[in-house]
């Protein structure tokens, strides 16, 4: 894996250790992610990949007993510093969750929510942003005739694309996706995968997945986690055809996990 110069590092973790109470769930993780790439975190259940993902937008702050050592740097800044406002961080770092979680409101209101909480009132701006975001997440054509419809009436795959549009409306530079397609059917999954590939042009994407084929299909780089350790991080092609570590090899070939 090429060494990145400082200005190329979009996201970085340095000597990161994470604890839930007494239990250590991430050990000495060091990783640097380049802008406009898709990075996949893979590994068996419970290996810490979701936890690690959430350190980048501080969603772990809500978990009782959460404690970290080490640093998380985004765009050259330590995001855990006292002066960092978490609300601002999350406008820059968007998140899509495993199970689609649209608000029980209309499609329009879902996408507009992020703008609303920022205090943006300009009706035209909001409408334009909603349209742009829905187009970016490849949902516009399907819903443009009735944006007032309840978001809950959409199919699972559509709801997830709505959640993506919602996150994109804030114009983040980084998109964190926690197993975004695992709750969806194969057709929706492939739509989402195509979408991720397109979004790469403008965004830096980190995706947690337990589906190795998915990681192989859509990511540039892959990080393999096992029991809280970052075992190997390299170009996806390399990880899947010629990994350095034996453990990686065993996981890829299905020997465990």
């Amino acid at each position: 894996m090429e060494k990145l110069s400082i200005k190329d590092k979009k996201l970085e973790a340095i000597n990161l250790n994470v604890y839930y109470g007494e239990k250590k769930v991430l050990k000495d993780v060091n990783i640097a992610i380049k802008a406009n790439t898709v990075t996949a975190f893979i590994g068996p259940s419970g290996c810490g990949k979701s936890t690690f993902l959430r350190t980048f937008n501080r969603m772990n702050d809500y978990v009782e007993g959460f404690r970290k050592e080490g640093d998380i740097i985004i765009d050259g800044k330590d995001i855990y510093q006292k002066m960092v406002r978490v609300e601002d961080l999350r406008k820059k770092v968007g998140m899509v969750f495993q199970k689609p979680n649209p608000f029980p409101k209309s499609i329009f209101e879902n996408v507009a929510y992020g703008l609303k909480i920022q205090g943006i009132n300009n009706k035209q701006l909001i409408e334009d942003t909603v349209e742009k975001s829905l187009k970016q997440s490849a949902l516009w054509e399907e819903v443009k005739d009735d944006l007032k419809k309840s978001a809950l009436s959409l199919s699972g795959g559509q709801q997830q694309r709505l959640c993506i549009a919602r996150a994109l409306a804030l114009e983040p530079s980084i998109l964190l996706m926690d197993e975004p397609a695992s709750a969806l059917d194969p057709i929706s999954t492939s739509k989402i995968e195509d979408l991720i590939w397109e979004l790469k042009e403008k965004y830096t994407i980190v995706i947690v997945t337990h589906n190795m084929q998915q990681a192989g299909r859509i990511s540039d780089n892959t990080a393999f986690f096992y029991m809280g350790d970052l075992v190997e991080y390299d170009e996806t092609k390399k990880i899947f055809t010629n990994p350095e570590k034996e453990r990686t090899q065993n996981y890829i070939t299905g020997r465990f996990g």
Partner: protein
């Protein structure tokens, strides 16, 4: 007869016993509602609703009683609803797992179990005497508000709890803070449950007699209330005082008053149940 046969018979018998108990409870309800209807229905007419109490049962009416009930319920609602919802939000969304939180919880659980007459004693000393509200609607409303506060808080919490956490996570994930999340997402989604709880609390307040007697709600009132500082009576109190009259004809007046009281109570409860069903159907997570 085998053991299995014996067991089956016992099972069937218990089933019948269970049905019998259930039907007995319902039968009691029917009997006593029926009795009250029969005794009191002839009293219900416009005169009854617009007359003042009198020493003669034929003339006695519930005008001051139901206007007093309306006054005190409105005032109680104005006081208790905002405070109850706010406290419920605080308990459920902000104060979690701190020492303060457990203390508040235990305290709340206790308050819910305090007999209503004790609230009356509290109201007597604090609102009537110390704060000098006198035996007024304001004193009564403050007392009842404290009484139903735990009910509103608990049902607000239940309604908030029912909102799935994924919604909150989605909102936080987009950079909203706690209050924005509550105001824009959680509260709107729990409105149905909160309103149901409020209606049930109000319907409970309507029937409360003991605390108001202790406060000094009058039994014999000759005018309808015109301000929060007026003396007052309420429907259940009027009924109570008629029950206590030696003249047997007052039993009819009491029954008439009960019919009006039950009508209002059941109406409120019915609305609450209807809303609860409707809301549960609407929001299917």
């Amino acid at each position: 007869m085998t053991n299995a046969d014996k067991n089956r018979i016992k099972d069937k018998m218990f089933e019948y016993f269970g049905i019998a108990c259930t039907l007995f409870a319902i039968a009691m309800l029917v009997v006593f509602l029926g009795d009250i209807l029969m005794t009191g229905i002839k009293k219900i007419d416009f005169n009854f609703l617009t007359s003042y109490p009198s020493s003669r049962p034929k003339r006695a009416g519930i005008y001051p009683a139901w206007t007093g009930t309306l006054w005190i319920l409105s005032l109680t609602a104005i006081i208790a609803i905002p405070i109850g919802i706010a406290a419920g939000i605080y308990f459920e969304e902000y104060a979690k797992k701190s020492k303060m939180a457990s203390f508040l919880e235990i305290n709340l659980a206790n308050l819910a179990g305090v007999p209503s007459i004790i609230y009356g004693l509290l109201g007597l000393q604090i609102f009537v005497r110390t704060l000098n509200f006198g035996t007024s609607i304001l004193a009564g409303a403050c007392t009842l508000a404290l009484l139903i506060l735990p009910i509103i808080i608990v049902s607000t919490r239940e309604a908030l709890k029912a909102v799935p956490d994924s919604i909150r996570q989605a909102s936080y994930g987009m950079g909203a803070n706690t209050w924005q999340t509550i105001w824009h997402q959680v509260l709107p989604a729990s409105t149905g449950g909160i309103i149901t709880g409020i209606i049930l609390a109000i319907s409970r307040a309507i029937g409360e007699t003991a605390p108001l007697i202790v406060i000094g709600a009058a039994a014999y009132i000759t005018k309808i209330p015109d301000s929060p500082m007026s003396d007052f009576t309420v429907l259940p109190m009027q009924i109570y005082s008629w029950i206590g009259m030696p003249d047997k004809d007052f039993a009819e007046s009491a029954a008439g008053g009960i019919i009006v009281l039950l009508f209002i109570t059941f109406l409120l409860n019915g609305i609450a149940v209807f809303l609860r069903n409707r809301w549960q159907k609407k929001v299917k997570w």
